[in-house]
């Protein structure tokens, strides 16, 4: 029961945050040079006088500011994110088409980075001081310093263009007409490069954090108690050290949600992955601000939801935190 109340409370908070973000969007548009209608119409739409007139009416640009805000907010909350002149479709449709691909990509990247990061962190901590530790730590340092889009490009060159092991761009092999399991595998091979390059930065982050947490907890009193009881070393590492060390990593992972979603823009651009990130890139190129803000809003919603999930997971994992506070 406590858990449900907690989730309910957080959902309400989440809605408030989204309203605040929408308000932020509203004022950003007005901060731009030029009148809001032509900003919203974008490069293509501004040429069309009829479209501009429609927009002015839709946004109530002749009405007082607070009324405009109200119109804008109610539109957003009914999922009316505007209309893309350039693509000729409502923004919400464009996003809905591409959202699953992004969810797949970010989900895969997140799982990959967390699992690999934790494993490497544990290995590095157990072999602290030896060369394998130095290798992992240095590797983590390197991947942490490389720009995401550059890793993506370089791995594209190496694994796809030179070695030919993995597909170059896209979601699946077009025109091959695969179905069922065959299709899933095909999508999977296309997913490998984007997901791993997106996740490498975070792998480095989690590996470093896990290693540091493991080393710190190794000196804790309760670990000494476990030793004094004669518990086997392997069990001490699993049930005592790692089990406690993973808590700060989970917290960190939760905080990275925003970064992964942001990084997806770059990865999808490089690999031609048909998600909302690439939609954002196209909207930039086409100066289509309605789409841009729509994608921004939806990705914020994703982050809010994701934060809620990780918060719940953390509270379940750490019995010291009373759920519902």
């Amino acid at each position: 029961m406590h858990l449900l109340r907690f989730i309910g409370g957080r959902l309400i908070k989440g809605v408030i945050v989204l309203i605040a973000i929408a308000t932020l969007n509203f004022f950003l548009i007005r901060a731009a040079p030029g009148d809001p209608a032509s900003v919203m119409a974008g490069e293509a739409g501004a040429a069309d006088a009829e479209f501009l007139r429609q927009l002015r009416e839709q946004f109530g640009l002749d009405r007082p500011l607070y009324e405009q805000l109200w119109i804008y907010l109610t539109d957003i909350l009914t999922l009316d994110l505007g209309f893309s002149y350039r693509q000729g479709r409502p923004v919400i449709e464009l996003i809905a088409d591409r959202l699953p691909a992004t969810l797949l990509l970010t989900g895969a990247a997140f799982v990959f980075s967390l699992v690999l990061g934790v494993i490497l962190g544990v290995l590095a901590a157990r072999r602290a001081g030896k060369w394998s530790d130095s290798a992992i730590t240095t590797g983590a340092l390197f991947f942490y310093a490389m720009p995401l889009f550059w890793i993506a490009l370089m791995s594209q060159i190496i694994f796809s263009l030179w070695l030919g092991w993995l597909p170059n761009v896209g979601f699946e092999t077009i025109g091959a007409g695969y179905t069922g399991l065959r299709r899933a595998l095909d999508i999977g091979t296309h997913l490998i490069l984007p997901a791993t390059t997106l996740g490498l930065f975070f792998t480095a982050l989690y590996a470093r954090m896990m290693r540091a947490a493991m080393l710190e907890i190794s000196g804790a009193d309760f670990v000494k108690t476990a030793r004094a009881k004669g518990v086997h070393e392997g069990r001490i590492v699993r049930r005592h050290i790692a089990r406690n060390a993973i808590l700060p990593v989970v917290t960190l992972a939760g905080l990275q949600a925003g970064q992964i979603v942001g990084g997806a823009v770059l990865t999808e651009t490089v690999f031609g992955w048909p998600g909302i990130g690439r939609l954002m890139f196209e909207a930039l190129a086409q100066r289509d601000y309605q789409v841009l803000l729509g994608v921004f809003f939806v990705s914020s919603a994703m982050v809010v939801l994701f934060n809620l999930i990780t918060d719940v997971v953390y509270r379940v994992a750490d019995p010291r935190i009373e759920v519902g506070r």
Partner: protein
């Protein structure tokens, strides 16, 4: 052991410092080595590295010298990295300090505000800000500062909170020092160490952020940046890999150096004291 000795003990930090100095040198000396604008076409396009004397890193699709672009790009990256970090600090440090010292409602309000900004996906917000305000040096610095200040505020708040209940700060209250004096002379000086460490890491992530924005085409159109060069080289990856490669190496080295220096600062400023107790 003095600060410099402790810093020098960390070999990685020394390497980082050297690389960083080289990058700064490149930025300062760029106009001397390459007095013509990096945008000018200088010779045949698609020249591979070392193929012709004087063009060690090759040329790009429009015959521009890659090496010139890399050196001039250093100026932009360092400039934007520093200015946006300072701006973020100017926003974040006061917010964090006030929240941490006064607690209560002020703390609640400021923290809600900070949390809000942390929830928004940082890169997406930066894109939106730069896109709507039109790409320029100012909009980029503003965008990076806006997405970078929350972690600073959190850090400062945490430090101030723990310092506030430290006994020597309470002693300062007891002997009658005024609140502003306590904050400035007792509390903040002891937060300089973690803020400095964080600042060096912030410059690193500011550079990454700026290059990502440039890669997407949102860089200042008058400035040749590393991100822009990588983006421009995308279409010719197989044939002319070096156009995207070298600017990327430049970013990598600079960010790596900043991270190493940051870690070195951390070790030097927070030595593990094995003196007290018995």
């Amino acid at each position: 052991m003095s600060f410099f000795k402790r810093f020098a003990r960390n070999k990685g930090a020394l390497i980082g410092l050297i690389i960083l100095l080289l990058v700064v040198l490149a930025a300062i000396l760029a106009p001397y080595f390459y007095p013509t604008s990096p945008w000018r076409m200088v010779t045949r396009p698609f020249l591979p590295p070392m193929a012709m004397d004087g063009y060690w890193l090759g040329t790009d699709a429009l015959g521009r010298d890659v090496a010139s672009g890399v050196m001039h790009g250093a100026r932009v990256s360092l400039l934007i990295g520093l200015v946006s970090t300072v701006t973020a600090l100017l926003i974040g440090v006061p917010i964090g300090a006030l929240a941490g010292y006064f607690g209560g409602l002020i703390d609640d309000a400021l923290m809600r505000f900070t949390e809000f900004f942390q929830t928004i996906p940082a890169f997406a917000l930066a894109i939106v800000i730069v896109a709507i305000l039109q790409p320029s040096l100012y909009s980029i610095v503003l965008a990076i500062a806006i997405v970078s200040w929350p972690p600073v505020a959190r850090l400062v708040r945490g430090e101030v909170l723990s310092l506030r209940s430290r006994e020597y700060v309470q002693a300062a209250v007891v002997i009658g020092q005024s609140t502003p004096r306590i904050i400035f002379t007792q509390v903040l000086p002891n937060t300089i160490a973690p803020i400095t460490v964080m600042a060096s890491l912030m410059v690193a992530s500011a550079i990454l952020l700026e290059s990502a924005l440039s890669f997407l085409g949102l860089g200042d159109p008058n400035m040749m940046t590393w991100g822009y060069m990588i983006g421009a080289g995308r279409t010719r990856l197989i044939a002319a890999w070096w156009i995207s490669f070298f600017p990327g190496v430049a970013i990598f080295l600079t960010v790596l150096a900043l991270n190493l220096v940051g870690e070195g600062l951390n070790d030097a400023l927070n030595p593990r004291l094995s003196q007290e107790g018995g």
